[in-house]
């Protein structure tokens, strides 16, 4: 809402304040002023002047030499290039030393040898909207009304000696979408009196009854319909003062009739619509839902297909307007219009909102209906328009008003207990203060001791509860005058839940392993899954789809974190970061049956490309499968997770068939780790071996065991034995470890692989592996004999089951 400071002065005394002070006070009491706009900013020393004489420039076809009377006591010679100037016109004259909003400074100059002591100004040069000007002034010098006094400051003449307060209104303050609403608020904020406009209607002898009939069919969507009729209508431009106010408010002056409706909307907050009475079939207004198949040509000359959820204004035959959104072309007021039916109605906000959204038609009027107008103000607005019609000589008022109202219009009565004010705010505000604040807002207050009975006018439809009144009191008392305390209830314990602790532990462990955390958007698309080579029937293709995505790239929710990490890797790689080790902990989304929320899976994924940090001491380590696997293993250790196993995964199309493993915990698959398929890397513009893992973090939470228990330390020395053998290459380490463990009995405490060799000296297709076995008994020192026996047993089983040949 744009509020002209000059206009506002008509309703409240602003002599004790500056626009800036007012703006600050309003902002701190709840009606925020976003911006102050000085309309005359940059305009200096420009006055009105009469073109006393115009001659052709002797040496230039397009230039004219004007003798201008600018009230300085002598005629000024000014050369202009404009073609629309005539002798006798009054125009804006920038004198020598003048400044224009563009920053231009006017100096004494010579144009083709002729001296020029200033410049004649166009509307555009003064910062006016070219299209809002009268035709004769468009594209040329601004021609002012002939009776404009000369030598006057142009800012005063054009109403540019004004400041506009641009309000940033919260949705509840629809009452401030009107000058009178803002004025009432300002009166309360400043503690001054509010003077509403005096409305007087001079009606003619005729009576509206018998001239028209109004029926509201769909009373759920239209609560009130007020109509007035004007006769002997004469369309003409509206007066300068009205045009200036409309302009300051950001509206374009059009003609007296349209301008009056807009002016009253700005002043009273009530949108009005003028119909050409003679075009209305049956001189009848029917407010009803549209019938399927109905169409309407709206004012902007486009054919609108109407739907039954839209409210229309119809005559006896067909729709003549889209209620609250846009009028119909056929019933538009034109220069030929003789009689007008003026509508001042209350339409349902939600309905208007839906219709204007559906058709993409938003206007100052629809905005006001959507936010809710004053049900009690319809007649006053119609009367105000009637008054202006007469004042402007635009028409005569037929006596009477049609007022169909399907609900009662009464001020809301709310009891406000002073105790409640204290309970909510934490401060006792004296009764006198409370009463004055409420009265300042225009509310009726009846003092009943501990309780006030408050009458809230209909224009404040945001106030329905006692708490709403408490807010009114608090904001005008000043939020910053309320003390600062801490709750004094019982002490509560702040703590993380078990799941939250595990999440934090996961993040901290991965961080300490050297992966950097990234955060990517939760959106995805099927193309990304194509790039991951995910088959069409794969479960990861089943995604939660957005109805209204910002773009096709973000049209669904992610089912895997891998593409996000690949994009981050690729982006960094393109920026010449060669060694990348990252992870993300976030949700993936799995659709469920219709009507239910998707399942959100907390997921952990990591990715590595390149090498670990360069070091002068030795070669950096390539971040490969085992590098990432080591991190995953460290995570499992940190989480106290047992029963973890890895199984070769040869058929996941996103991954390298020979370098990928499923991760299982006690037989349940919880993730994957491996090298991404080279084609996948290529699809993301990556070269080199990219490794990744993805784990179901919610499963990790479920399976983690953070409870620690002490076990006594061994009291007897243990024994360590090595074992080396040759075995076929395709025998997995896990299988060998399994055999060793299964046959190590109670004495075998631990086994680790310390060497793996394949190459020269080893038969083709075979590999050499060396293991270190730790034996220990809790109750005695072990003897060579008993350990030898166990070792022999293990060796025999290895030979039997996987054909391992012991190396000497």
């Amino acid at each position: 809402m744009r509020v002209s400071y000059k206009w506002l002065k008509e309703y409240v005394d602003l002599s004790q304040t500056t626009p800036q002070e007012l703006a600050d006070k309003m902002t701190m009491s709840g009606v925020a002023v976003e911006h102050l706009e000085d309309l005359g900013e940059g305009i200096k020393n420009i006055v009105t002047g009469r073109l006393a004489k115009i001659e052709k420039h002797p040496d230039a076809d397009k230039l004219q030499i004007c003798q201008v009377d600018a009230g300085t006591g002598e005629l000024l010679q000014i050369v202009t290039g404009a073609a629309n100037v005539r002798e006798g016109q009054v125009v804006p004259v920038a004198l020598v030393g003048a400044e224009l909003p563009s920053g231009l400074k006017i100096k004494r100059s010579k144009l083709r040898g002729v001296e020029s002591l200033g410049m004649l100004c166009s509307g555009k040069e003064l910062g006016l909207d070219e299209k809002s000007l009268a035709e004769e002034s468009q594209g040329g010098i601004l021609i002012l009304p002939a009776d404009t006094p000369i030598g006057k400051d142009i800012k005063e003449v054009l109403g540019l000696d004004d400041v506009v307060l641009e309000l940033e209104l919260t949705p509840n303050r629809a009452d401030c979408l009107s000058m009178v609403g803002v004025a009432q608020e300002v009166a309360a904020v400043l503690g001054v009196e509010f003077h509403p406009p005096m409305i007087e209607v001079k009606e003619t002898e005729d009576n509206i009854e018998g001239l028209a009939r109004v029926d509201i069919v769909d009373t759920d969507l239209c609560k009130r319909y007020v109509a007035r009729i004007f006769r002997n209508v004469k369309t003409a431009p509206s007066p300068q003062w009205m045009q200036q106010r409309l302009r300051a408010a950001g509206m374009r002056p059009i003609s007296n009739i349209v301008d009056i409706t807009n002016y009253v909307m700005l002043e009273m907050g009530q949108p009005l619509h003028a119909f050409d009475y003679d075009t209305l079939g049956g001189q009848q207004i029917i407010v009803r839902r549209a019938v399927p198949g109905e169409e309407l040509v709206t004012l902007d000359n486009s054919v609108r297909k109407l739907e039954p959820e839209m409210l229309v204004i119809a005559d006896a035959k067909a729709p003549v307007g889209l209620a609250g959104v846009m009028g119909g072309l056929d019933s538009e007021v034109t220069d030929e219009t003789k009689t007008i039916l003026l509508e001042s109605a209350y339409f349902d906000g939600a309905c208007i909102r839906r219709t204007s959204r559906k058709l993409g038609l938003g206007s100052e009027a629809s905005k006001r209906f959507e936010k809710g107008i004053d049900l009690g103000g319809c007649v006053r607005a119609a009367d105000r328009a009637a008054q202006l019609m007469v004042e402007l000589g635009a028409g005569e008022i037929v006596r009477g008003v049609i007022d169909i109202c399907v609900t009662s219009v009464e001020d809301k009565v709310i009891n406000l207990s002073l105790e409640r004010v204290g309970l909510i705010l934490g401060i006792e505000i004296p009764k006198d203060n409370v009463v004055n604040i409420l009265k300042g807002l225009g509310f009726g207050v009846e003092d009943q001791g501990a309780q006030l009975v408050v009458k809230v006018p209909t224009r404040r439809n945001d106030i329905t509860l006692e708490e709403d009144l408490v807010e009114e009191v608090a904001r005008l008392y000043g939020y910053n005058n309320i003390p600062t305390t801490l709750p004094d209830g019982p002490t509560t314990q702040g703590a993380r839940t078990y799941g939250q602790q595990v999440h934090d532990l996961i993040r901290k462990t991965i961080l300490s392993c050297g992966l950097t955390e990234v955060l990517t958007l939760s959106f995805s698309n099927q193309k990304l899954l194509d790039n991951l080579r995910i088959p069409q029937d794969d479960s990861q293709r089943r995604a939660v789809v957005l109805q209204n995505p910002l773009s096709e790239e973000q049209n669904m929710l992610r089912t895997t974190l891998i593409p996000g990490l690949l994009e981050v890797t690729a982006r960094n790689f393109a920026r010449r970061v060669k060694d990348i080790a990252i992870f993300e902990l976030g949700n993936t989304f799995e659709p469920t049956t219709e009507g239910k929320l998707p399942v959100e899976h907390l997921t952990l994924a990591g990715m590595a490309l390149g090498q670990t940090a360069q070091n002068w001491q030795g070669k950096p380590v390539t971040m490969d499968f085992y590098y990432l696997k080591g991190i995953v293993e460290a995570l499992f250790t940190a989480l106290g997770l047992t029963g973890v196993s890895y199984a070769a995964e040869k058929s996941n199309p996103s991954f390298h068939p020979g370098r990928t493993a499923k991760v299982l915990v006690k037989g349940e698959e919880i993730g994957i780790i491996g090298q991404l398929h080279p084609d996948v890397a290529e699809n993301f513009d990556l070269s080199g071996e990219v490794y990744a893992f993805q784990l179901a973090a919610d499963k990790l939470v479920e399976k983690a065991d953070l409870v620690k228990k002490y076990r006594s330390l061994p009291r007897f020395p243990g024994m360590e034995r090595d074992m080396a053998f040759v075995v076929a290459r395709d025998v997995e380490a896990a299988r060998i470890l399994e055999i060793i463990r299964a046959n190590g009995g109670d004495l075998l405490q631990d086994v680790t692989i310390f060497d793996l060799y394949q190459g020269q000296q080893i038969k083709e297709g075979y590999k050499s592996m060396a293991f270190s076995l730790k034996y220990q008994a809790p109750d005695r020192t072990l003897t060579d004999e008993e350990v030898n026996q166990v070792q022999a047993g293990i060796e025999a089983k290895l030979a039997e089951e996987v054909g391992a040949q012991l190396r000497g």
Partner: protein, 340 residues
């Protein structure tokens, strides 16, 4: 024989002196004092001596042996310590070379700020609540006093999944979810951090961002308490000399509602580019819980009151670290992330 002994002594002393290391010293020991050494050789020749001379020479020989052994030991000690020193000298390294690198992963700055916020509120006795990122229209809007077609829904342009489900536009739905679970128990003190989504994507908006919602419900909770809790948070987050300022505002789920400004952390309130010369930075929305919100989730607004607040984590991170472009937070440039 006397002369012989004197000569051995002289030669041995010279040899001990000449020995350059422990190995040479040992050779000297073997040569003169060993079982087959020169001194032993002399003693073996004592058989040819007269009975008077034998004890005299014997004693002399023993004196020479004792003397040489003493000298040997001294020499040994000095050679040992010299050897240690020279070894240490050889072992000298360039201590200015960098150490074996230990790479620490970096936490994303938004996570860091979220952790900090959580820690502050846990210290104030708040629990941490969670809720789904895909929400029902009921929890995201209706339970927060935002019925369908409420114009305030325009404040938040939503991503819809179906007519009834959407990506949550704020972390506020965790409020009714938590209340429904706990009602009518008090006190409730909780924060709800998490991801939220709005249909906005430009230099200052990301379609996904993070919020922390917080709320308290108890008997006798006041607007003054809201101010106190927020002031405590702000001073812990941004420094003890920060002040707050509350401006009336509107949220459908609070009444009265307030925007909370913190005195500018860049200029201390003097006015600068960051605070648009106002001296204040808007960081929070807050207010007393709307009675309808309490009621809908099972609390009696006549019995208990509450307050709620919500803050944008990106904004706080940007202020804290002086980040001037929101998009950096989601680009994940490792050179950017390495700075935190």
């Amino acid at each position: 024989m006397r002369d012989q002994l004197a000569k051995i002594k002289e030669e041995a002393v010279a040899a001990l002196e000449a020995a350059r290391d422990l190995e040479q010293l040992n050779e000297v020991r073997v040569k003169f004092l060993g079982k087959k050494g020169l001194l032993t050789g002399v003693l073996r020749g004592m058989g040819g001596l007269s009975a008077e001379e034998r004890p005299v020479i014997g004693q002399l020989a023993n004196e020479v042996r004792a003397y040489l052994e003493e000298q040997l030991e001294t020499r040994q000690e000095s050679l040992k310590s010299a050897g240690k020193e020279s070894r240490l000298l050889v072992e000298t390294i360039d201590v200015t070379l960098p150490g074996q690198p230990v790479v620490l992963g970096k936490m994303h700055p938004l996570t860091t700020v979220l952790e900090e916020i959580k820690d502050i509120f846990m210290g104030l006795g708040f629990t941490i609540e969670e809720g789904p990122e895909v929400e029902t229209d009921y929890y995201n809007f209706e339970a927060l006093n935002l019925p369908k077609d409420h114009p305030a829904r325009d404040m938040q342009d939503s991503f819809y999944i179906t007519a009834e489900t959407l990506l949550r536009t704020h972390t506020s739905p965790v409020q009714p979810r938590t209340m429904e679970r706990l009602a009518p128990r008090v006190p409730v003190k909780a924060i709800a951090p998490g991801k939220v989504y709005r249909r906005d994507d430009d230099a200052t908006h990301s379609p996904m961002f993070h919020q922390v919602e917080g709320f308290i419900i108890d008997k006798g909770i006041t607007f003054a308490d809201l101010k106190g809790v927020l002031l405590t948070f702000v001073q812990q987050m941004f420094g003890a000399d920060r002040e707050i300022r509350l401006r009336p505002s509107f949220f459908p789920f609070t009444e009265p509602s307030a925007e909370v400004d913190v005195s500018c952390i860049m200029c201390n309130g003097a006015g600068c580019r960051v605070c648009s010369q106002t001296g204040w930075l808007e960081i929070l929305g807050s207010g007393m819980m709307h009675p309808r919100v309490l009621e809908m989730s099972g609390y009696d607004p006549k019995e208990v009151t509450g307050f709620a607040f919500g803050m944008g984590v990106e904004r706080i991170a940007m202020l804290k670290y002086g980040i001037d472009d929101l998009r950096l937070l989601f680009e994940n440039d490792l050179r950017f992330l390495a700075q935190f």
